[in-house]
Symmetry: C2
């Protein structure tokens, strides 16, 4: 397997934005090319992660369209979709193209434009990733499933409502310092715990927003990195893992553990030949507060039921021993579904380059991890990065 | 780059079918697993090519759903989309996973269920792959663009209406012997030339149908092939190439040559270190009659404007020197968009194993090529195969 590097990153603001899906993707892409000094270079491939551009924007064939708009014709162009983990799955395909030797210079873009349709339509589009016969037909929504996971976790491990609120409070504390975040405002435990109930016990503040936005990465081989002389900024991909779980939550062995995360993390750590304890900073898919805790455990950072202890004692804060989601996570940075996985990688690359925004930079991290969920907890990608 | 093999193939009938998208995919998948003796083996990955399951069937998150239904959890699952070349793009990703060493045993599925929606809706879904600002808003459809290409080709190279009709006549001659083909009936030059005009000069018989169907491949590493003892049936992937062209036809340098095919073929032949003259049999994307001719030229089988000579003299017939589309092609085998690229590979694998249906087997072919189009002529994948 050839070594693979991320040598350029870009990202638009996340939020409810004026720009079209193409403008968002182009903005992030040009920033990543400028960051890596590759604007004038010939790209071999474009890989686009997007969950459902056809229905959210009425525009199809996104990978070809972007190859054209970005001046990359005749480079091969591919769209990758695994629900909300489409971005990290696109990164994984870009990684595979370079690792296999099929390409030396690849642009990976994650993008979603979700605000062009009304909220009801957006919910119906997103519901297609759930099990029709086991979930959707009974009225279950991702939020309702997350509420069930939360309730069971509280029952099994004694988690309290106010303890859970510490997760989004930390997310918003970080988001307030992230100039690209959807929400840049701190919130209190009282605000979260006493917020409007969306699906008991989850309040509005336990749930990530639907956002517009894009992020992009320039992925390259060692040969290309040396040719371009960008070794000083390049971050090495140490491991990539992918795992699935049963599509419907009711078929799984546990409500409070995601087998897909366990599998993806095992594969990524196996490839990197590392133990979870080596990780200095991580971006984890916290679409709902409880997911940050469950996935911290399934990645192997801490035993089952113990993640809240690391939140309570400050370990997951930027200045803690295991900073989680210094970007603000999906909760505060926002969640344009196909963009999230690429944005997570962009954010840990900045961490490893010591270039994160003021107040969000972890102290000299050497190893970072990203974790992205597709479906409701059934299609996960975990990746591990380190200085080149 | 690790060597990669196709060691099992499966395919459903193509046509207007009762089965759901999941049933079609499962049928093809189990046939490919049975063919390779891998039903009891642990797959590392599932890669699904499908153009638009969300809108054609109302069902999303297809890769995870299929990983679950096929008993492949926790294998990583990925959907790939490049319009009507989604199948071959999925194969390319499966190839990259194995070539990179990320996986040893991968199931690649191509599937589309197009008949669940009415024809008008299907046309609107397919139109999303065209350029909104340059084509769709002026009423252009894929058929209209193919008609323009045909008219220009006739003008530049003196092709006549009756000569062009030889292409679908040959397709139907082959399809009549293919028990899985959508159309299994021979037609005459008169029927084609005097058929109902769809977009002048194209008649109904110049246009492929919209179909339901699925095909699947078991893709594996050399290690796995030896472990399973299936070297005798395995076909080696010698080259894979991918190319794009400008999204809108009006931006291209030529109407009668597809730059994306030129690029994809150049990459595939470069990897295989072969010249087009070495190919013994090919499956080419003939969604419209003219496309078979243009792409034969862009692949490099024959000079510009000369392809019709090979059709006229019988070279492209099953018993000719360069059999093209012995399966019946998209025209007669049918075109469930995401399934087509995988079906093409399935068909050339059977050719290389000398297992094609009676009357369709080319005499002892050693090298075969597949060519698949995404969008209207702007996202092509070419692959080359040979005995292992």
């Amino acid at each position: 397997m050839k070594p693979v590097y991320v040598a350029g990153v870009g990202m638009t603001p996340f939020g409810v934005l004026e720009e079209s899906i193409l403008e968002l993707a182009e903005t992030a892409a040009y920033e990543a090319m400028a960051d890596s000094g590759t604007i004038e270079h010939k790209f071999d491939r474009v890989v686009v992660g997007s969950q459902n551009p056809d229905e959210f924007t009425g525009m199809g064939h996104l990978s070809t369209l972007l190859a054209d708009r970005l001046g990359m014709v005749p480079a091969g162009a591919t769209r990758v979709e695994t629900g909300p983990s489409s971005g990290s799955s696109a990164f994984e395909v870009a990684y595979a193209f370079v690792a296999a030797g099929l390409a030396d210079l690849v642009l990976a873009i994650g993008v979603e434009k979700m605000s062009s349709v009304d909220r009801g339509t957006a919910s119906r589009i997103l519901a297609k990733m759930m099990s029709l016969e086991n979930e959707t037909r009974y009225g279950a929504t991702p939020t309702a499933l997350a509420a069930m996971v939360t309730r069971r976790y509280m029952h099994d491990f004694g988690l309290t409502r106010d303890e859970l609120s510490l997760v989004p409070v930390k997310a918003h504390r970080n988001g307030a310092k992230n100039p690209l975040a959807h929400f840049q405002k701190e919130i209190s435990v009282e605000t979260v715990s006493n917020g409007r109930i969306v699906s008991d016990p989850l309040t509005l503040y336990d749930c990530c927003p639907t956002s517009d936005g894009a992020a992009a990465l320039v992925v390259m081989s060692k040969t290309k990195m040396r040719e371009l002389g960008c070794s000083d900024r390049a971050i090495k991909v140490l491991g990539v893992g992918h795992g699935t779980d049963y599509h419907a939550v009711q078929h799984r062995l546990s409500l409070t553990s995601f087998g897909a995360t366990v599998e993806a993390a095992r594969n990524a750590f196996g490839m990197a030949n590392l133990h979870p304890s080596a990780i200095d900073v991580a971006e984890i898919h916290d679409a709902f507060s409880i997911l940050e805790l469950v996935n911290m455990e399934d990645i192997g950072f801490v035993d089952s039921g113990k993640a809240i202890g690391l939140v309570r004692d400050g370990s997951t804060q930027v200045e803690g021993n295991l900073p989680i989601n210094p970007s603000g996570g999906l909760k505060a940075r926002g969640h344009p579904t196909g963009a999230t996985g690429i944005a997570q990688i962009r954010d840990v690359v900045l961490q490893l380059r010591n270039e994160s925004p003021k107040g969000l930079q972890v102290e000299s991290p050497e190893l970072a991890l990203t974790h992205n969920i597709g479906g409701f907890g059934n299609n996960m990608v975990v990746a591990i990065f380190g200085a080149a």
